[in-house]
């Protein structure tokens, strides 16, 4: 009987994120039943999956009590690379996809190397590398566009609908989570990543592979951001080196991660929660449309909802009786 209690405690934050998403979803569907068509769902899913992938990337690093402010730029860079290389016949397309993934992973690895071996603080190191990755993206695609023989059919596979109306994007997202996140979170090195975020010194003194774990999370973060960039290319069938877009995705990924119950202090939370956080965050925009809020007011409402949702965490203060606990 007690076992499920432990399971609930362990997954509490992810379940809350899931509940928030379901709540948003239900409000949307009940208020706008006509809008719940397969096409609308597909478009929403596509947008949501983009942020979900970048949010997963951010989760990787946040677990170790780090932060990656370059995820948005890796996203943009891989978008541009994909727009040039995912082209031609099947072989070239496949190589192109592989190249994009490698670029993403390489960017992550560089971040990891700077943080681990360079001993730079993640926040400043990734600000700097973000600028570098953006510069490279701009060099590859000075103008928005892509290769002439871009493989649109291949791209459509991932952004369309599967039989039954299920968006292919959601299936892709689930596959990525299954192949990347699930094995990672259950492995010894994945657990070490959590340990690093919770208490890096203790993890080191316990002999756990701290260096390998940190390097892996940064590399995987780059890879996931790269998958996101690839997906963006599938969606827009073009590559644009937009600093604004990159910056937005970075900041929204942090919001999604927090909404998803991942602690910015490290050591707890799950990428599954971050996925729901991202989907919920995206849903906010759609909800505003449902309630007929003028587009002019949407950014303000999005901001207020974001502010309110992060303030919810402050409710844990209500029961605090020992003020000393507030201070680190």
């Amino acid at each position: 009987m007690r076992e499920w209690r432990f399971w609930l405690n362990e997954n509490r934050s992810t379940l809350i994120a899931f509940a928030i998403f379901i709540a948003m979803f239900t409000i949307y569907v009940t208020n706008h039943p006509a809008g719940f068509t397969a096409n609308v769902v597909n478009t929403a899913a596509n947008k949501g999956v983009l942020l979900a992938l970048v949010a997963m990337a951010q989760t990787m690093v946040v677990i170790t009590a780090g932060i990656d402010l370059s995820v948005g730029m890796v996203f943009v860079l891989c978008n541009c690379v994909a727009s040039q290389l995912v082209a031609g016949d099947a072989l070239h397309t496949a190589l192109g996809v592989l190249a994009v993934l490698l670029v993403g992973a390489a960017c992550g690895a560089v971040n990891g190397a700077l943080v681990i071996f360079g001993r730079l603080q993640p926040i400043v190191a990734t600000i700097a590398t973000g600028a570098i990755y953006f510069g490279i993206a701009l060099w590859i695609n000075p103008q928005p566009g892509g290769a002439d023989n871009f493989n649109s059919d291949f791209a459509d596979l991932f952004t369309g609908k599967l039989p039954g109306g299920i968006p292919a994007s959601l299936v892709t997202l689930a596959a990525v989570a299954l192949v990347v996140w699930v094995p990672f979170s259950r492995s010894a090195i994945g657990r070490t990543a959590y340990a690093v975020g919770s208490s890096e010194l203790s993890a080191y003194m316990s002999g756990a592979p701290v260096t390998a774990a940190k390097f892996l999370v940064y590399t995987l973060a780059g890879l996931l951001a790269g998958i996101g960039g690839l997906f963006l290319t599938f969606l827009t069938q073009s590559g644009e080196a937009s600093a604004a877009n990159g910056g937005t995705y970075t900041l929204y990924s942090i919001a999604a991660v927090v909404l998803g119950g991942v602690s910015l202090f490290g050591g707890s939370g799950s990428a599954i929660g971050a996925i729901f956080g991202a989907l919920a965050f995206r849903a906010i925009g759609d909800l505003l449309f449902v309630f007929d809020i003028e587009p002019l007011w949407q950014p303000l409402f999005q901001g207020l909802v974001l502010l309110a949702s992060v303030s919810i965490g402050a409710t844990r203060l209500i029961g605090v009786r020992n003020r000393l606990d507030l201070f680190g």
């Binding site: 700097a128 600028a131 570098i132 510069g135 950014p299 901001g303 201070f327």
Partner: protein
């Protein structure tokens, strides 16, 4: 055994020298290197006119970095700077059009808006104990939303007041730009605040160990709140000046200043974790960042190359003196 340090007679110079951070020296050294490299490209790099122009441009960033530095010393971060700047610029420009009293209240009103933004940040961080990264991010989004509504989504049309333009673009004393003088005044104020007041001492203490600060009978929450208000107020003031410089405000006018402000503070030797850093270092960091951006643009390096160079320089500098301690001693 209990000698109290360098004797008073040896005076201020010796004590100052003992206190200068190697990181600050490194930053000033890099400035010299940049100037030298630039002078190889073109002689005009070392001309007083050019240098003064750089200092004027640096002043805006300098004012923003001052606020950012105080927040970073606490161990926090302020990501609401982009739209605090925009709010300052837009609201002061709008206020200057409010009847006859307009031009008088324009600047104070802009700053007041910044103080309000800082207040919300401060309450969220200090009293609601939400991580500063996320609170200031959310407040930034709210500020943006407010400005979108205020301007109706268009570019702001209001003009800056004459006073704003005067401070931002004029030069009253011996050809020194007014903006630079303003930065100098703010800088001296910040230095005195950090080094000579109980508030400043508390800032460093909180950045080092908030719990011990609380148990020593100092209120860390109030200090944090005030620090965020200072940051918001200074960012908005910079926005006021920027609007004065361009004669009007613009959408997203603050966006280009966030990362350079953080970079400037960190390159000046302050620790991003808090508790360590001095204002002279921030000054060096600001000049360094400004020079770098200017040199890259004068050399007509395309934007792509500029971004890459910018990132590389920051990384290289940090690898030299911004590294953390190794776990294994």
């Amino acid at each position: 055994m209990t000698d109290s340090g360098i004797p008073m007679r040896e005076g201020m110079w010796a004590r100052t020298r003992a206190r200068i951070d190697p990181a600050t020296l490194a930053a000033f050294g890099c400035i010299l290197v940049l100037l030298f490299a630039g002078s190889l490209y073109s002689q005009s790099f070392l001309s007083p006119a050019y240098l003064l122009q750089q200092l004027k441009v640096a002043s805006f960033l300098g004012i923003i970095a001052t606020g950012m530095m105080i927040v970073i010393l606490l161990g926090q971060i302020d990501l609401s700077v982009p739209w605090a700047i925009a709010v300052g610029g837009m609201m002061s420009a709008s206020a200057s059009a409010w009847g006859p009293a307009g031009p008088w209240i324009a600047i104070p009103f802009g700053i007041a808006c910044g103080l309000a933004i800082g207040f919300v940040n401060g309450v969220g961080v200090a009293y609601l104990r939400i991580p500063s990264m996320i609170v200031t991010l959310a407040v930034n989004a709210v500020a943006q939303g407010l400005m979108v509504v205020h301007t109706g989504g268009f570019s702001p049309q209001d003009s800056a007041s004459p006073a704003m333009r005067f401070i931002a673009t004029g030069d009253v004393f011996f050809g020194l730009p007014n903006a630079l003088i303003v930065w100098a005044i703010i800088g001296i104020g910040a230095t005195l605040l950090l080094n000579r007041t109980t508030f400043g001492r508390a800032v460093y203490a909180i950045g080092n160990r908030e719990r011990a600060t609380y148990l020593s009978g100092v209120d860390p929450q109030r200090v944090t709140l005030i620090a965020f208000m200072i940051s918001g107020g200074l960012s908005a003031f910079a926005g006021v000046l920027l609007a004065g410089y361009a004669s009007k405000a613009a959408q997203a006018m603050g966006d280009p200043y966030l990362l350079p402000a953080i970079a400037a503070v960190v390159l000046g030797g302050a620790s991003i974790l808090g508790g360590r850093g001095n204002y002279l270092g921030t000054v060096a960091g600001v000049i360094l960042v400004t020079l770098l951006q200017s040199i890259l643009s004068v050399m007509q390096i395309p934007e792509a190359g500029r971004q890459i160079a910018y990132g590389l320089v920051i990384i290289v500098m940090l690898l030299f003196y911004g590294r953390g301690a190794a776990i294994r001693g």
